[in-house]
Amino acid sequence: MARKSILGLFDNADSAADATDVLLEAGATQDDFDVLTGSPYPEGAFGEKDPVHHIYVFPIIGALMGLTMALVLTAGTQVAYPMVTGGKPILAFPAMTIICYEGTLLGAVLFTIIGIIFESRLPRLRLDPYDARINEGYIGLLVTTEEEKLDDMERALIRGSALEVVHERGRALRG
């Protein structure tokens, strides 16, 4: 069944938090709504569900990949074309450690970045429904539900003192 979204706009955090209770009373579940804000709020401020993520796995995978790549680069190139310089061993451990250290950390950073973007569900091609006023201090309560429940949810949002219910993306503000 097709699910659609509507966005309730609130001018303060308290009324948005109260509106989530009204939504739950109207039959929505915690998975049906999300809170959009222009700045981070303390966890649980809107009674929302704590999002599950696996971000901490990414740097570990990245570090292992980076270490492997660095080992291949350092050991591989030296073994493939062995050339003794300064009487040092072909696979000089202290020198290899430095490149491996940097490679490990580079891999960890790159995978962490990928992980953050992936776990944040970005990039997102469509914003709808969205309103530019969210970045100006408004709180958005985004409800995604079955099409036939949408009217009930809209009424619940208005009952929860939403200032406006947005069905499509709001106009961008001029700076």
Binding site: D34, P40, L73, T85, A95, I98, I99, E102, I134, L173
Partner: protein
């Protein structure tokens, strides 16, 4: 955080994007002047590439001069970003908020500038690729990863990549603000850069975790970068006076000293130029100055270790270096300048609370620190190479040429210009962070006083 004023989200957006939407005549005059200096630098570098390194003051035995000094200096400045941003994020210091972006941006641009220095120093920059990238398939020769020449690029490349990505991730919510406040082409560009950010609970949570996680990963990179730079010296077989085991921590703490000082200078200039008095407050300067006292004193400790334990064994090269640095002109004057400007003037001044809250004096003292720290690198490098030693048929000094002076001056102009131009496209104070500070700030009454109650995310 007693000086904080409550400002609406909309006003925060307007204030912090003012650098993008409004520009004073002074801004463009300054950028134009800096661009002119950068142009002079490019011209001088072009002239040097055409004529060869003979137009510089470099000659046997001093083959490292202004360029390498400047390389170490800018690498040092780049340590500001991670020191302030990462450590203060990890310890969740409330006063970090206005400083992090400026510090991270300074890191990126100073690293980029630092990377140009060895390239210019090489005389034929295109040949540097032979040392760094494994591309010479035809002859089957790869870069020797056992060489310190490969360590440096790998560390700097890792640090630069990480810093750019760190800045970008933290900028995504601010790009969304700019997306919502612009139209036309800027709107399209900011829409792409913001990746469709909406500010959901999940996105903000990941954004906070990103700050902490990336800080924790970048910190070891930050320590490694200047350590490896110090090993460029420490592992140089022919220069015995540089064979110091304390070089790595000494360089790292010196880098933090100059880097944090540079961030303070930049913050004061930004506050003055964009009227960010409500965001970059005197209490921030106060906290940064206290941090600087600790950092500067730790640096002095390592300097003393390096100096005294070097002399303790009474080895010839070490004694020759110290004799040059302390007793012979012009080095003794540089040495004195370095000690006075990097510690003896600023630190006693920072001990006075009114100085820590005086922006002019803070700007003055932090600029002094960087004058001193530049000289510190200069008197390590040049006297180290020109000391009298056996089996060297030339004992020579070093006088920089006008070409070198022009290029070095241009690097300072380039970093300043890039920071100012960056302020034209992104807010140099993180908007989301500033707003979060407003949300978390509240006051509670204890007895007869109202005190700030700051709740922090765990």
């Amino acid at each position: 955080m007693q000086e904080r004023v409550r400002i609406s989200d909309s006003q925060v957006n307007t204030d912090l994007t003012s650098s993008i939407f409004e520009s004073s005549k002074l801004y463009w005059i300054l950028v134009g002047f800096l661009a002119l200096v950068v142009l002079c630098g490019f011209t001088a570098a072009g002239y040097m590439f055409n004529r060869g390194l003979g137009v510089t003051g470099l000659n046997r035995p001093v083959m490292w001069g202004f360029f390498i000094t400047n390389f170490v200096f800018w690498i040092g400045i780049s340590h500001a970003g991670v020191m302030l941003s990462a450590i203060l994020r990890l310890v969740q210091a409330e006063w970090r908020r206005p400083a992090t972006r400026a510090a991270e941006v300074l890191t990126v641009f100073s690293l980029m500038t630092a990377m140009t220095m060895p390239l210019i120093h090489a005389g034929r920059p295109w040949r540097v690729a032979y040392w760094v990238f494994p591309y010479d398939w035809a002859r089957g020769i790869y870069p020797n990863v056992r060489s310190a020449l490969v360590w440096d690029p790998s560390a700097v490349f890792t640090y630069l990549t990480s810093s750019i990505l760190f800045v970008y991730i933290a900028l995504i919510p601010d790009f969304a603000v700019l997306r919502d406040r612009t139209t036309g082409v800027p709107h399209i560009i900011y829409s792409i850069l913001s990746l469709g950010w909406r500010g959901s609970v999940r996105q903000w949570k990941l954004q906070i975790i990103a700050g902490i996680l990336l800080s924790a990963i970048i910190l070891p990179i930050f320590v490694s970068v200047h350590s490896i730079v110090s090993w460029d010296f420490g592992t140089a077989m022919s220069v015995e006076a540089w064979h110091s085991t304390v070089f790595a921590p000494y360089f790292v703490i010196g880098a933090v000293h100059s880097g944090v000082s540079a961030v303070v200078t930049v913050m004061i200039i930004l506050r003055w130029m964009f009227h960010w008095e409500d965001y970059i407050r005197r209490e921030h300067m106060d906290s940064l100055a206290k941090l600087l006292i600790v950092v500067a004193t730790a640096w002095l400790f390592f300097f003393a270790l390096e100096f005294f334990f070097g002399l303790y064994a009474l080895e010839g090269p070490e004694v020759a270096l110290r004799e040059l640095q302390v007793f012979e002109a012009p080095w003794k004057w540089y040495f004195l300048t370095f000690l006075i400007t990097s510690y003896l003037i600023p630190v006693p001044m920072w001990l006075i609370p009114s100085v820590r809250r005086n922006l002019w004096l803070m700007a003055f003292t932090t600029i002094l620190v960087n004058v001193g720290m530049w000289f510190e690198r200069f008197i390590i490098i040049v006297p180290g190479l020109m000391r009298k030693q056996a089996f060297v048929f030339t004992w020579g000094g070093y006088t920089p040429s006008i070409v070198e002076v022009t290029i070095i001056t241009a690097t300072f102009a380039m970093v300043s210009m890039l920071v100012l131009l960056f302020a034209k496209v992104v807010p140099l104070i993180p908007i989301g962070d500033a707003k979060e500070g407003m949300i978390l700030h509240d006051e509670i009454k204890i007895g007869k006083v109202m005190v700030p109650a700051v709740m922090r995310e765990e």
